[in-house]
Amino acid sequence: MADTRLFALVGNPNTGKTTLFNALTGLRQKVANYPGVTVEKKEGTGRDRHGNEFRLIDLPGAYSLDAKSPDEEVTCAVLHGERADTPRPDAVICLIDASNLERHFYLATQVMELGLPTIIVLNKTDEAAERGITIAAKKLEERLGVPVVPMQANARVGMEQLQVALSREEPPKPKWESMVGNDVAARYEKINALLEGTVARGDVERLTPTDRWDRVLVHPVWGWVILLGILAGLFMTIFSVATYPMDWINAGFGWLGEQVKASMAAGDLRSLITEGIIGGVGGVLIFLPQILILFFFIGLMENTGYLARVSFMMDRLMSGVGLSGKAFVPLLSSYACAIPGIMATRTMESARDRLITILVAPITSCSARLPVYLMLIALMLPIGNATQKALVLLGLYGLSILGVYAFAWVFNRTLEKTGETLMVLELPSYQSPSWREVLMQLLERGKIFLRRAGTVILGLSILLWALTTYPKSDSENASEQLAHSAAGRMGKAIEPVIAPLGYDWKMGVGLVASFAAREVFVSTMSIIYLGEDATGEGNTVREKMAKEKRADGTPAYNVRTCLSLLVFYVFAMQCLSTVAVTRRETNSWRWPIFQVVYLTGFAYIAALATYQISGFFLT
């Protein structure tokens, strides 16, 4: 048997490349990053009609081989065989949108001029027919000397013919030469000559279904009503439906921990397994339902073409700080959890916009902050009514929106500008959702989250467990043990640094511990003040905290300290999962480290200012 052949899939964005890739490879695919750049590399394997295996690489979407973005540079380099990490493909499958032949042939003719064996796929023939466009594929085939396959990849129409073309022993090379180089107008002239007599356009002046949908979905009034409705539904699903599987996961890990406790003698190893490993992994998995629901909604919006309309509507609100409308959904998702939000930036083509969005995403008030906020607000306003408490909470969300905008503005000013400042947003035709594709994307994103974030999280939660466990004290009391541990000593060591913010060393321990995840603050506080297990009742912890006194006899958790802590939690980067995901998505340690430093640094300054300035008004 001959060596496995490597095919490359090339096409403009929004051509159905991913659909075809999934149809050809099924679940036999893997996703990674091209070394050195933030571009996703997708590779899979399929079988031809003879049962021979072939490899298929899904190259990033490109409008031209005259590259203008990191994505296009990768596509260009791979096709030229210039990337050390990827061999030059043996043949190319060039995907063309049948409803817009001229533009898509711009890239296709460039690709054919590389001299590699080529298969042209005319995708979305149904949509073309809807617009009255019929194409004589056979005529094109004769003129180009390569197979031209009409397809509807989402309905798997035309797969048979594509398989035949893929299975040829010696796939033909195109007999096409334009000799125009990168003269755009001259290339389009050649394309028009090529297409002469192969395309018939019927008279269709009627409204397309996309026009009808757009009349409602981007309507100045109904457009907003529908968008708000969808987002409200999304968040309600995340905060209500997701709680059921989250409870099951919680219960499952609790049960697992009990089983280990019952079958092992007490000791460091048992503590490592139950608290470090099971607790750490459970702490990551608990977010999986929310993350999957978010990915499902975003995938559905992207798949149907609605996501582009959301960007269209929101662009105005984002452009003031230098972001594009495409940043809206990733940032909004971050209000549930920054992890899917950061992963959702993959829908953005501009590397610069993407980086800015990733950098500011952790400022959004994710759901993990909520337990901390609720605890501190209750301490701050012990006799306040629900309205006052809600107002404080609303203020914190407002502060985070302000923070997102302000830092996006700063990064837009300071980060080096790339050549292209143009924003072109393509608004694809609506299509009914391909559930298969949405689910496959869901599976892929879920897998990435578990594998990449999971491994880092596991390591770091073991580290954190060690910090709160060692060195051991003789005391049986968990509170005294924590004070004696490395984390406790760190809390005491940073006390001089955090004293100007209004914090004592116990709060310092909470801060240190919550660098793993914000909500850990609550459980750490219960260990410190109750000297019991983290599952102690919240109210009693709160009562103890409220009674906690400073050296001068005033309450430790006064209004100023609570405000200062709240402001700190709005900005500080205290989430190892986010660090891990930023590392994965930016493909370097540089940005996650920068993120931790700038956010925590700013949180310190903001909390300091809050505590000191509030001193003029409050005692």
Binding site: S99, N100, Y106, A185, T210, M313, G325, G419, M423, L425
Partner: protein
């Protein structure tokens, strides 16, 4: 025959033929590669609910372009 004006000044639903553009460098070239060549008909489909960006139908596709950029692309 229309007077030369920026495509951002077209009325909603109005069609005109593209002329020159004063977007230089890769931005202008990208638009040309996407088929925004002199002589191509371009139609303003709608403005976004907040006034910007503008949705155009040109070269067989629907593209949203910001007002700032649309002010630098002219009709014939």
């Amino acid at each position: 025959m229309n007077d030369k004006k920026a495509i951002g000044q077209l009325g909603v639903g109005e069609t005109a033929d593209l002329g020159e553009m004063s977007l230089n460098g890769s931005a202008g070239e990208r638009l040309r590669e996407m088929g925004l060549l002199p002589g191509a008909p371009i139609r303003l489909v709608r403005r976004a609910p907040l006034g910007c960006p503008l949705e155009f139908e040109v070269a067989g596709a629907r593209l949203a372009i910001r007002g700032r950029d649309a002010a630098r692309i002219f009709t014939q």
